[in-house]
Amino acid sequence: MSDQPRPEPDRRPEDDVHPGDDAPDLDAPDLDADPDAPEQDAPASAADAGDRPVPPPEPPAEPAQQRPGRPRRRRDPLAAALIGVLTLLLGFAFAVQVRTTGTGEDYSTLREEDLVRILDDLDAREDRLREQIADQRTALRELTNDDSQSAAALQEAQERAEALGILNGTVAAQGPGLVMTIRDPEGRVRVADLLDAVQELRGAGAETMQIGGVRVGVSTAVTGEPGALRIDGVEVDSPYEIRVIGSAQDLQTAMNIPGGVVDRVGRQGGSVDIEQSETVVVDALRQLDRPQYARPDTDDGG
């Protein structure tokens, strides 16, 4: 630096136009400063304000400072040291800044408002994601619940179907109960006697029963003449075997009460054998009666 300031005679001053002219305070000093001498005034001022022809006279202050400065400057170790320190600082800061920018800490150089905006964005995104998580969790829970609920509902429906099937005779059943045999050698047991037997058995808690090979259901009818009885239109012959599932003790008691089934059959000349059993199989089946007119009343909720 110490040997550099050398006026170039072929320099074209008009080339030195630069936008910095608008702000002479900042950059003009570099150019205005004309340490080399007053004889450099003309090119210097031209450089200073290239587009306007400036007369040689400079502002008085600068030449006054710089004229004595010229000889000093060349050997001024302080200036050289300052320049060295400044440029060293610049290089240092430059490298540090490049490093900082290059390390991916993109946010470190952002301003507060930008950071706030970014933070808001992130917060909003986080909220959205959290909502999504909550939604998904709810959906998952509902699906799981649905699963277990439908399994439970299916089980209940199955149990219900089985119970109903036993009651209306579409499913074979077994359980404790009794086997009752009505012998009618004289053929005098009437429809009413058999019907009474069925009613008494039901009254005593019979859950399901069959007479001969016919399952007794809700619509079972006993018809015919004594000696030629029909259950649901199917002829049954004496002896009539009635298999009943229910509390064997209760059923037997009901049959044996005075004036009950056993009594009346005996008066008709027949006899009744009752045999309790732990396992009575009622395996005659009925066709499911599909109601032709009746419909479920869903309004009532049943």
Binding site: M1, Q4, P5, R6, P7, E8, R11, R12, D15, D16, V17, H18, P19, G20, A23, L26, D27, P29, D30, L31, D32, A33, D34, P35, D36, Q40, P43, A44, A47, Q66, G69, R73, D76, A79, A80, L82, I83, G84, V85, L86, T87, L88, L89, L90, G91, F92, A93, F94, A95, V96, Q97, R99, T100, T101, S108, T109, R111, E112, E113, D114
Partner: protein, 110 residues
């Protein structure tokens, strides 16, 4: 020679030590670097013009940095820091371009 040496040594030191920029300095360091670059370009141009003065260079260097940082600082206080730093960078960039153009004319005569 000294400035080039200083720059080189400074860059090497910065790369070697790799210090963490303090938080309060982070908004101003890039602006200060750009301002100092502008001063360096101006000084280089002045040298090519044959009008270089160490004292003016030092003062313009320091004042450039200080003024640029001050402008950004004021902008931060006023809530327009981002815009003002953009403005400073634009202005300094234009000046650097102008100086670079002048240097180019000196070097390449074109």
């Amino acid at each position: 020679m000294i400035p080039i040496l200083g720059l080189a040594v400074g860059i090497v030191l910065g790369l070697v030590f790799d210090p963490t920029v303090p938080l309060w300095l982070q908004p101003y360091l890039p602006i200060a670097v750009v301002a100092a670059l502008d001063a360096v370009f101006g000084g280089f141009r002045a040298r090519l013009d044959g009008i270089f003065d160490a004292k003016v260079f030092v003062i313009s260097f320091v004042s450039n940095v200080v003024v640029a940082a001050l402008v950004v600082f004021l902008g931060d206080q006023l809530g327009v820091g981002a815009q003002l730093s953009t403005a400073v960078v634009v202005v300094l960039g234009i000046r650097i371009f102008g100086n670079a153009a002048a240097i180019r004319r000196h070097v390449f005569r074109a």
